[in-house]
């Protein structure tokens, strides 16, 4: 047993360093994710102050006071000590008080609804989770895309998020906090990519049979490239009007990314205010759902 604390710390350290060097939440590429993960690491650090001595102490006591150790003094009457009780209540309490400060300040500073402080106007994107794909509407550009998100790097992005049917959760691990997508409600999220790059995003709330197909890629591109991308999208693809939306809202699995060259204005508002009814479920159903791929994928 006595060999384990070193091994444990080693494993933990190795895991953390591995996680840090590759694409996860400890490898942030934007200010929000950087701040989140900094608080995460700070909290771990604060707790290790108490956790490491506790684990080491457990091993020391457990080993030294083994029955076969003749040198250990048997003290069956040592059953209470006011000083120790004071310590074991107050030290955790102090740590938690300190951590409570981190929690209070962190919650307020990193409230997902809070916009990023920046000079330039953020890019507005409206997000709708559908069964089972993401619809990203760019109201200012008048375009939309499915299961693929393109944003300018270095510019703040502001998301308004809702769901067409069941609950989902929007998350780009290296860039953002996560926030729920719920029908009839709008949540908000800010995000900024420091540099160009491709980042994976996903839904982190199980939403049914097509849930694993809700992964998407966020392309952070230089500002000029973003403008070019918008122009390109406007040239081709279908138009997202109400009929196209209702067809998209049908259940479908593993939808490949595509774009809409134009959108009907106020579609997002119509969805969130339920002027457009919530997405339908399976067409008919026993055990296996009637899911169908979208025509033209």
């Amino acid at each position: 047993m006595r060999k384990r604390p070193g091994a444990l710390a080693g494993v933990a350290a190795a895991a953390l360093s591995l996680a840090a060097c590759s694409g996860g939440v400890l490898d942030p590429q934007g200010p929000i994710a950087a701040h989140d993960s900094k608080i995460l690491l700070n909290a771990v650090g604060i707790m290790l102050v108490i956790v490491v001595p506790t684990i080491v102490g457990t091993f020391v006591f457990a080993w030294w006071f083994r029955a076969s150790n003749a040198r250990a003094r048997y003290q069956p009457e040592f059953v209470y000590s006011g000083e120790i009780e004071l310590l074991v209540w107050s030290i955790p309490l102090l740590i938690i008080l300190f951590l409570g400060g981190v929690i209070w300040i962190g919650s307020h500073e990193l409230d997902p609804f809070k916009p990023l402080e920046a000079q330039e106007k953020p890019v507005e994107i409206q997000v709708v989770s559908l069964d089972w794909k993401w619809l990203f509407i760019y109201p200012d550009q008048g375009i939309a895309s499915v299961n693929e998100l393109t944003v300018p790097a270095g510019t703040p992005v502001h998301f308004s998020i809702t769901s067409a049917s069941v609950m989902n959760m929007f998350f780009v691990p290296q860039l953002s906090s996560m926030i729920a997508a719920m029908n009839g409600m709008v949540t908000q999220l800010a995000l900024k990519a420091d540099n160009p790059g491709d980042f994976f995003g996903l839904s982190t709330q199980f939403s049914g049979d097509g849930f694993p197909g809700m992964g998407f890629t966020l392309h952070a591109v230089p500002a000029e490239a973003f403008a070019q991308w918008v122009d390109g999208v406007k040239q081709t693809g279908p138009t997202l009007d109400r009929a196209a939306y209702l067809s998209l809202a049908q259940q479908s699995l593993n939808v490949k990314p595509f774009t809409y060259r134009a959108i009907e204005p106020n579609l997002f508002q119509a969805i969130t205010t339920q002027q457009i009814p919530p997405g339908p479920g399976p067409a008919a159903g026993r055990a296996s759902p009637a899911v169908h791929s979208r025509p033209g994928d």
């Binding site: 003290q75 040592f78 962190g106």
Partner: protein, 670 residues
């Protein structure tokens, strides 16, 4: 006539559930046939099925829990193997099947493995520790057990008749509404939990009444053993929390069956209400499970260190502290649902405050070991493994209570690793410690030490190899419940977890071997004295196994460690206390009420799931008739004559006397 039920309810096209179902059915039939042919039916009926003896009921709870633990573990193996295979591939489980598997895994592990195991140990131990003869309401106790078994049975029927919920273990609406899941899966979930929830609530009432009202003379609150204290706290939580669960599930049932709109998208329904309510039950639930486990560790650490529990009163305070604060933290399960920063911060802080109570417990266990003479039998191994592993789980838990950290880790495999870290290291290790600790009390022989140690090491190492990689996968952004994925950086960690579950499977095999080997060698493992571990509380004052009446004469408690005091007096005076005046004892009669009620409740539940309304009527009427018939009973007790009591107790005294003879005369008085 058959409602929605038809031949198409059987998944003919899916070999896995079909073969699994066939195998289980074959085993069941074989066991049944063996029981009938060997003529064991009367024995089973009189001694077990209709028994209202808390010890028998406890054993049956544990048996149910262990069987369901195996079922839940098989689901776990399927989840881990599917994810190991499904990188850029479909794996071998299609989504509609995989989603049932992880939903069933969570539901079964919490409701039908962990709960019966914990409640089973409480059933067996608490009356013995209190120095009394039974619980407050013995027939109700039997009914509780059989209703729990009904729930477990319904969940398992869903494997082959219809489907189970495809929602996760908590059926968040609107996904769980008929619009999105019109099948019977969610209905199976609802009715099995509604029925077993009634059983659990009755257990809570039963045990709170027992502990508050029925104790041996002199057993004041602050002399109750720690396990009994945690059982009290746990049952108080059951009484306060389970009605919330029932009410929430009833609302979802009304949505699904009668077109109500509590949680729908339309007509003013609000799914966030469900999520709040279910966690207002769900968070106390984890303390319902883990507090008794803390109690087990307290008993084990104290016994095997050869010392009283350090800081007993502080431990009682910490237990009650956790009991109360556990009600004020539920919102931390959905920081990412968009509550404001102040709400999130308040719940984050209240959550981390719970760690103070848990921390106090950990330190008191450490100082119980300090100055002890620690014997490393299997239960103590589980306890030390628990303290270290649970500390890590506690740390990751407090980390998830920090909202900005949770914004990146919520629902990820980091979360999955965290709650398995606390539930496996806390509840499962605790249950295994408790089972090896109290097994000789229940059956009169100890479990095999070598296999116990093997099970411990495989379980501990298997746990680390399975769940430490999942922490990393979560830090890499991998969310839970993915039937397939194509993010390459997750793959190695998922594979590593797959290796871990193989080790855990070896640990499970070692547990089974331990049981088999122990039964084969029971004569050499026999515990004659009733006190195999040199215990300190009253359960060890009885013979192993204890007689139906537990104590020939109710003990007179004079301190926190009554049996230790009795032993010390015996050792000092070099003889047992004088033989008491034996009196006839009145004990409750066996009753088939629980079994028959549960039989009809099973029929009712099944009929409700498949919309067979006439059968619902029949089942309800019959269950009610059983209740009326029971309420009109004339005789509820039988008398054990004083001679019989004396005979049983003299045998126990002879064994203790032999122990005194063999040990004390050769040893310094303690």
């Amino acid at each position: 006539m058959l409602g929605k039920l038809g031949w198409d309810a059987i998944p003919w096209d899916q070999p896995i559930p079909l073969i699994a179902g066939a195998v289980v059915l074959a085993i069941l039939l074989a066991v049944l046939a063996w029981v009938v042919i060997k003529g064991h039916v009367p024995y089973l009926w009189h001694e077990w099925i209709t028994s209202v003896d808390h010890k028998r009921i406890g054993v049956m709870y544990v048996l149910l829990g262990l069987v369901m633990l195996v079922r839940g573990f098989i689901d776990a193996v399927m989840i881990r193997s599917q994810q190991a295979l499904a990188f850029h591939a479909a794996g071998y489980l299609p989504p509609e099947h995989f989603n049932q598997v992880f939903s069933a895994h969570g539901t079964i592990m919490i409701f039908f493995a962990a709960m019966p195991l914990v409640i089973g140990l409480m059933n067996f131990v608490v009356p013995l520790q209190l120095g009394v003869r039974d619980v407050a309401f013995p027939t109700l106790n039997s009914t509780s057990f059989w209703l729990t078994a009904t729930g477990a049975l319904l969940v398992n029927i869903s494997l082959v008749v219809g489907e189970f919920a495809r929602t996760g273990w908590l059926p968040y609406p609107p996904l769980s509404e008929t619009t999105y899941l019109p099948g019977v899966g969610v209905d199976y979930y609802l009715w099995s939990l509604l029925i077993s929830g009634v059983g659990t609530l009755m257990t809570g009432i039963n045990f709170v009444t027992t502990i508050l009202k029925i104790r041996a003379p002199g057993m004041s609150y602050l002399r109750m053993p720690m396990f009994t204290w945690t059982a009290l706290a746990s049952n108080l939580l059951i009484i306060a929390a389970f009605p919330i669960l029932t009410a929430t599930l009833v609302m979802l049932t009304l949505d699904r069956y009668l077109g109500f709109h509590f949680f729908t998208n339309e007509a003013g329904g609000n799914m966030m209400m469900f999520i709040n309510l279910i966690w207002a039950w769900g968070h106390p639930e984890v303390y319902i499970l883990v507090l008794p486990a803390f109690g087990i560790f307290s008993e084990v650490v104290s016994t095997f260190s050869g010392k009283p529990l350090f800081g007993y009163r502080s431990m009682v305070a910490a237990t009650l502290f956790i009991c109360i604060v556990s009600y004020m933290v539920w919102l931390h399960h959905f920081f990412t649902m968009g509550a404001g920063p102040t709400v999130n911060a308040v719940f984050g802080i209240s959550t981390s405050i719970i760690a103070v109570g848990t921390g106090v417990k950990i330190y008191n266990w450490m100082f119980t070991m300090y100055g002890g003479r620690i014997r490393y039998a299997t239960p103590m191994m589980w306890s030390v493994g628990f303290i270290v592993t649970f500390t890590i789980g506690g740390m990751t838990g407090v980390l998830l209570a920090v909202p900005p950290a949770d914004f990146q880790l919520h629902n990820s495999l980091f979360l999955v690793a965290h709650f398995h870290n606390v539930i496996i290291a806390g509840v499962v290790f605790g249950v295994f410690a408790g089972l090896t600790y109290w097994f000789p009390k229940a059956f009169g022989f100890r479990l095999h030490e070598g296999w116990g140690q093997a099970a411990f090491w495989l379980g501990l190492i298997g746990f680390y190899v399975t769940f430490m990689p999942l922490y990393v996968a979560g830090l890499l952004g991998m969310t839970r419940r993915l039937q397939h994925y194509d993010v390459a950086i997750w793959r190695p960690w998922v594979l590593a977890a797959g290796v871990g579950i193989v080790i855990l499977a070896a640990g499970a095999a070692a547990q089974v071997m331990q049981l088999l080997v122990s039964i084969r060698r029971r004569e050499e493992l026999r515990d004659e004295t009733g006190d195999p571990w040199n215990g300190r509380s009253l359960e060890w004052a009885t013979a192993s196994p204890p007689p139906a009446f537990n104590f020939a004469v109710l003990p007179n408690v004079q301190g926190e460690e009554p049996y230790w005091d009795i032993k010390r007096r015996a050792i000092e005076s070099q003889q047992l206390a004088p033989e008491p005046q034996y009196q006839p004892i009145e004990m409750p009669r066996n009753s088939p009420t629980g079994f028959i009620t549960a039989f009809f409740t099973t029929i009712t539940g099944f009929a409700l799931i498949w919309h067979m309304w006439w059968l619902v009527g029949v089942g309800l009427a019959a269950a009610y008739a059983v209740f009326v018939w029971f309420a009109w009973r004339d005789v509820e007790d039988y008398v054990i004559p004083a001679d019989e009591v004396a005979q049983a107790d003299r045998e126990r005294r002879r064994a203790r006397d032999a122990w005194l003879e063999a040990n004390v005369r050769t040893r310094e008085p303690a």
